[in-house]
């Protein structure tokens, strides 16, 4: 068994607020092997994004109160801020949630991609740089000319692909994808997710996918973690969790999944009397 790419061990993250300390992440542990796909599900505020930001050391206002994070065997607590900068995207990269607004509006796509190489000490000749960027864009299914475009000239799906291309530019061993498709239309969502899966396989990188759509997760990751109110309430293989969910929240997530074949249409029981359950005072 090789060294895990990432190990999170009893991680606790607190935010100081006016009303006192808010525990955003409470005793969370998981680890990923090289090339593995792991999904973190939970509603907004459940702590899944906070966990990801802690791995990037990009917590704004929050702090890691206890616990340990290891990246390729290295204790991240011992890495200085300056070193951490060179770690980002080189070993651990992020595909952001808001792809629509994650690109600098006044820089051409090629320049924004080039910045990554420049600031990680990767030197290229002009021609080499152009070739590499063209290849990266092709790899995520975009025409290479996109490098001359500005973000406002691209569709949402194209921008998200650019973000994926940037994420794999330095061939990281871990990709963190924070709801990368939540702002996209369903058809584009499937294509972008497929692209992410393909490049991840090409690279052999591990990936943590964050989301709240259990069905989407089920078809992308092999292992799932369910977060609820800061705690990782359940982890296991996708099949196990779907077949035998342990936690109430997980059960609710699975049961409320809409689908054509699983959830019955109201129509099927034609002209039923009003079900009292539907009219009870909701949450």
């Amino acid at each position: 068994m090789s060294v895990p790419v990432v190990e999170v061990d009893q991680l606790v993250i607190d935010y100081g607020t006016r009303g006192g300390v808010f525990r955003a992440v409470d005793d969370v542990s998981f680890s990923l092997n090289p090339g593995e796909r792991f999904g973190l599900v939970g509603e907004s505020g459940s702590g899944k994004s906070t966990t990801i930001l802690a791995l990037m050391r990009m917590l704004r206002g929050g702090r890691v109160s206890s616990g340990r994070m290891r990246l390729n065997g290295r204790d991240l607590a011992e890495v200085s801020d300056a070193e951490y900068r060179s770690l980002r995207f080189a070993e651990i990269s992020l595909v952001p949630q808001g792809a629509m607004s994650s690109l600098n509006p006044v820089l051409r796509i090629g320049e924004q991609m080039g910045d990554i190489f420049d600031d990680h000490g990767v030197r290229h000749t002009r021609g080499q740089r152009a070739t590499i960027i063209r290849e990266l864009l092709t790899q995520v299914g975009l025409p290479p000319e996109v490098r001359h475009r500005y973000p406002h000239e691209l569709s949402g799906g194209m921008k998200q692909r650019v973000c994926i291309a940037m994420g794999i530019a330095l061939r990281p061993s871990l990709i963190l994808a924070d709801e990368p498709t939540s702002a996209l239309d369903v058809i584009v969502q499937k294509q972008v997710l497929a692209t992410l899966g393909r490049v991840q396989q090409d690279l052999g990188a591990a990936v943590i996918l964050i989301g709240h759509d259990m069905a989407l997760m089920a078809h992308f990751v092999t292992r799932l973690g369910v977060m609820y109110k800061g705690k990782l309430v359940e982890t296991g293989s996708v099949r196990d969790i779907f077949a035998n969910p342990q936690h109430d929240y997980t059960r609710m997530l699975i049961n409320s999944l809409p689908s054509f074949d699983r959830l019955k249409s109201f129509r099927s029981g034609a002209a039923r009397p009003v079900r009292p359950a539907a009219f009870q005072e909701g949450v």
């Binding site: 239309d185 499937k190 699983r262």
Partner: protein, 317 residues
Amino acid sequence: MNKLLEVRAASVSFSGKQALANVSLAAGGAHPAITAVVGESGSGKTTLLRMLLGFQHPTSGEVIYDGQPLTRMDGAAQKRFRREVQAIFQDPFDAFNPFYKIDHPLLAPLKAFGLSASRDQSYDRIEKTLRSVGLNPAQTLGKYPHQISGGQRQRVMIARALLLEPQIILADEPVSMVDASLRSTILEILYELNRSRGISLIYVTHDLTTAYQVADSIVVLHGGQIMEVGATEEVIHDPAHPYTRSLIEAVPSPDPDTPWNLNQARPPVLAPRDQVLLYPTGPHRAVAAPARAGEIAVTAAQIQLAVSQAKADAVVA
């Protein structure tokens, strides 16, 4: 007996760009039904909705309510249209003016349309309606919108529409910003509005699965034109247009063992540049195609009305 709201061959363009092209649609009519208008961003569904509400006039074509074009109605008819065609919007927070308590949007329509004689009478009516959508008036009235939950807010908005005793309700993505656990409940309320109160609904959504849950017929909108229209079961289980097919394929099954073919995602089906017409493939079904000489095209409205007729016949039988 429901009044009929109809869009006839309407096109809308904004500064030269066409948002809707030659769309015909019906809501209401002899047999109240639920029609889902399914489309992604940029499909023109928002424009269609604004047009049905009279907020947006078509560049060509017309919108007709109860036999009268919206643009040529007298004051009384306009007032009746305003009251009888209601809407529920996507964002249940944005729908409330933060300056006022929950009571404000509930009292205002009763006063504006002269539906109650006194304040007490108004409150009686409001409380009754709130209870009918499963809300406790004591826990709702007198509060500011941020003091109640998203699910509650959306129900208050449904109650608001009901207060006006509408013929038709247009629901614009009513569950997309509501917590997953509450979606079903809201959808069920909408469904019951049709079944037990005889209100016709247009359910605008990007989500085929919820459309499948409630709608009698489905209209698929893409790039401002209708791609496919038909009875829900037929459209979902046997999609005829490639765009409808890819919309359905894009929905992951909740069963991890049902293959989703993530790695064989097909390239997107582009919206047709030229005008297409709807050609019937069955009594309850029509699919878009470029104009064909010698064949008779139908409108989505015709198919919709045929579907609701068939549904009504089935209940009688």
